[in-house]
């Protein structure tokens, strides 16, 4: 990855993180932990140029699709979409408010750039399977990205979808699992142990990569590889830190679903802006 792009992606990841904190503070509720853990990957998806998408034409037929199966992490998606120009950044402050285009979980009919309505865990990967089948029927070369939580993989439906994706050899489907090791009630190993995550996907017949989900160079390398895989769906197990970028949120379970107050917001933004310095 060239230095210029890497700098841009770092800046975008930082902006996305700041947006996440600001919108959650304004909303007074929501999910910072699993949004922050995905900020680097979303920066990559929306600003590397690897995705065929157009903010000016959000519904264009031959676009790549992004399904946020872990829908509660929508602040990271909304921030990326706003930064990309799908809608005005001022909308971010309306998150979760009555009448807002930014619902508490993603709504494809309200928010430009949201490809699928999600929120009830486990369903998004199946929706992505349907999209990938649809793309195959149309002989379209598009890719479908599904972003999953590691806690979400407790849901049986994820594995139903995993079976189907392999059965239909959906090599246009790329799932990214946000392996941050935490879910609402605690560490995933204590709530419902899903280790070894990557082996599970491999055993379901998916070409599987395990990466550092905060390393932009590795994300770049892996997504490029994933796009060229033939005959099987691809899973990228992204090792991440929940709350990444905000020291007092990192690996702290309580920041799964609590919004920062004004004071915490300022401290968080200060942390985020210091990431590169550390």
């Amino acid at each position: 990855m060239d230095g210029k792009l890497k700098t841009l992606l770092k800046e975008k990841a930082r902006d996305i993180r700041v947006d996440i904190i600001e919108m959650l503070c304004a909303a007074g509720s929501g999910h910072p932990g699993g949004s922050l853990s995905m900020a680097d990957i979303f920066s990559y998806l929306y600003f590397s140029g690897e995705l065929n998408i157009d903010a000016k034409d959000p519904a264009k037929k031959d676009r790549d699709r992004v399904v946020l199966s872990k829908g509660h992490a929508c602040p990271v998606l909304y921030a990326a979409l706003a930064e990309k120009g799908y809608f005005d950044k001022s909308e971010l402050k309306t998150l979760r408010k009555y009448g807002s285009m930014l619902q508490g979980h993603p709504d494809m009919n309200k928010t430009p750039g949201v490809d699928m309505t999600t929120g009830s865990l486990g369903q998004g990967l199946s929706c992505a399977v349907g999209m990938a089948i649809g793309a195959k029927l149309d002989r379209s070369g598009i890719k479908v990205f599904a972003i999953l939580g590691d806690g979400e993989c407790n849901e049986g439906q994820i594995w139903e979808a995993a079976m189907a994706a392999r059965h239909y050899r959906l090599d246009n489907l790329i799932a990214i699992v946000d392996l941050n090791g935490l879910q609402i009630d605690g560490f995933t190993k204590d709530v419902m142990d899903t280790t070894p995550m990557a082996d599970k996907w491999r055993s379901f017949g998916w070409k599987t990569f395990e990466i550092d989900g905060h390393d932009l160079e590795i994300i770049d390398e892996t997504i490029k590889k994933a796009k060229s895989v033939k005959d099987s769906p691809v899973c990228i197990v992204a090792n991440t830190t929940k709350g990444k970028g905000v020291t007092f949120m990192e690996d702290v379970c309580d920041w799964h679903g609590n919004a920062p107050c004004e004071e915490e917001k300022d401290k968080a933004i200060c942390d985020i802006c210091n990431i590169d310095a550390s």
């Binding site: 709504d107 699928m116 998004g124 199946s126 929706c127 089948i133 139903e160």
Partner: protein, 322 residues
């Protein structure tokens, strides 16, 4: 009595029985010819739901999703976002109960164009027993916003409903049956969303039915006619949206409504009729159907009698309450 206009749309072939699921499979295969956006999914029941007829003709547009109903519903939603028209089939119990959240969140909330055509509904499924008999499916589907609910009475109406569903832009639930039902209509019958059909006319009472029970309602009405009691018989294939005017108008004339359905009396057609009449024209409503019970093994005819909605029970409900 049956008036001349109605007679034109009624079948002349007495005793001919075809299951609505048969009509579904054949109609799908026919529609597949003219509409290449139609895709079909099934959960390892294609021989029973009759989607196998489509699968044989259009293998590239048929997707067996294995025994995984939740995944099928959400995947169908994904296909609909790509401009396809997915028809998804399994038994009613699985479509509406196992995959209820997927139908609600993946399909109904985003208003995606998925046609949920579920077979083996009601206790008339018969021998498989309670685990496979959907008696709450209409109640569940009717309560989910954005979903239209259709329950055809015979093979002809089933074909028309499927044609309409394919043209209709939005999610719908079509309730189909396992067992052969007498053919009531002929091909000139037209199905319209939100419209019921008055098949017989009389002033003593109104019998409203949908789905498999409509031939039972007609048999009861003929029995009553022989006794000199004439009733309105309304077939209400469009349960949601429902034909409020037709219900209110008939109830205003007769003052007594009997509903008949192969479904729980809680939340189904009977409840829908009560909802209309309580607001528009309160009259006495007697709901025949499954009385807040689970189903049971048995043959369809004996079950209909045991659960209290055979033709004798329908006729008695009229006789005892006029």
């Amino acid at each position: 009595m049956i008036n001349k206009e109605i007679e034109k749309i009624l079948s002349k072939e007495e005793g001919k029985k075809i299951a609505t699921r048969e009509a579904y499979g054949n109609k799908l295969a026919e529609l597949g010819e003219v509409n290449s956006d139609i895709v079909v999914m099934d959960c390892d029941l294609s021989k029973s739901t009759k989607t196998a007829v489509f699968a044989k003709k259009f293998p590239d547009r048929f997707f067996n999703m294995g025994i995984a109903e939740s995944n099928m519903m959400s995947a169908a939603a994904g296909l609909a976002t790509m401009g396809k028209i997915p028809f998804v089939s399994t038994f009613s119990v699985f479509a509406t109960k196992r995959a209820c959240d997927q139908v609600s969140i993946s399909i109904a909330y985003p208003k995606l164009n998925v046609k949920i055509c579920a077979t083996h509904s009601g206790i008339t499924l018969g021998e498989d027993g309670a685990t496979h008999q959907a008696v709450e499916d209409v109640a569940i589907m009717r309560s989910i916003p954005n979903i239209a609910v259709f329950s055809p009475a015979d093979a002809v109406e089933a074909g028309k409903v499927i044609e309409t569903a394919a043209e209709y832009d939005g999610p719908c639930y079509v309730r189909l049956c396992r067992g052969g039902a007498p053919v009531i209509f002929n091909d000139s019958y037209k199905f319209e969303i939100g419209k019921g059909t008055k098949i017989m006319e009389g002033g003593a009472a109104t019998i409203i039915s949908a789905g498999f029970t409509t031939h039972i309602a007609l048999d009861a009405a003929r029995m009553l006619e022989d006794e000199g009691i004439e009733v309105d018989v309304i077939n209400m294939a469009s349960i949601k949206p429902i034909d409020e005017d037709l219900i209110a108008e008939s109830a205003a004339k007769t003052g007594l409504v009997i509903t008949v359905e192969d479904h729980s009396i809680i939340g189904g057609l009977g409840s829908a009729v009560c909802e209309v009449l309580s607001a528009k024209n309160p009259v006495r409503v007697i709901r025949l159907g499954v009385q807040d019970k689970f189903g049971s093994s048995g043959n369809p005819a004996e079950l209909v009698t045991a659960y209290g909605f055979d033709k004798d029970a329908v006729a008695a409900a009229v006789r005892d309450n006029i």
